[in-house]
Symmetry: C2
Subunit: 125 residues, 2 copies
Amino acid sequence: MRVTFRRPDPRDPGRPVYVISVAASIVSVHPRTLRIYEDAGLVCPARTPTNIRLYSENDIRRVMWIRHLTQNLGVNLAGVRILFELEERLGTRILERLYDEATDAADAAAVRTADAPPEPSASSA
Amino acid sequence: MRVTFRRPDPRDPGRPVYVISVAASIVSVHPRTLRIYEDAGLVCPARTPTNIRLYSENDIRRVMWIRHLTQNLGVNLAGVRILFELEERLGTRILERLYDEATDAADAAAVRTADAPPEPSASSA
DNA sequence: AGAAACCTGACAATGTCGTTGTCAAGTATC
DNA sequence: GATACTTGACAACGACATTGTCAGGTTTCT
């Protein structure tokens, strides 16, 4: 455990930066949807001292996973929550395994909208 | 791989024994529902040479998991399929981990019907 | 100060899904 | 021959996902 000081790194993916309208436009959903995800316990954006939601890069990626799971794989929010909890519990990035299935399921389920699924980990690229 | 000969063991949990009406009554669902599960690729009961479905103990247990996931945890069939595929892919019994969450989620979601969830593995008991 | 964007909570519309149920025409089993 | 199975279709009912809006209130920016 070396990370004790939190230097304000502008590139820290955990740093809360996007207000809800910006976050919503990034992931192409209604702000309403983001609030629903939060109510369902699927995302936990930080808040300013004055209660304004601030989404980090990690939050954005998480939402992208939710969209991928729901839109491409047809999983409902309860299933998404299970998968997230499972991943946290196992300490494994099982979602990346799902990414492989995505192509199979997408091909089979006739979902050819050609929108790019969230890249599992594209930080240093 | 020692199991090559398949001796007709009456207690083999993989042995197809239950016709669909019996299987449906065991898990308390409509036969229609079992066929839907099969169409969704969630269960694969054996067939007699004359095309009659025969469910094994394992099939029954699998259906019970589906019921548990859908009724108690609110996961839809797409989510169930993902979980099954994931379990097979990881080679881990992640469903048992979900069983722990079941109590949490059931408490939170006010599901106190007191129906016994499927026992994860109760072969030699 | 005033406009714009945020907050929560509620309500509605639309489309999809899960489940049960039934009907028909055909085959298998007792 | 009666009963139970097969597939395929259709319907109904409730629940969910998503988008959208409106209200009344607070924060932020100019």
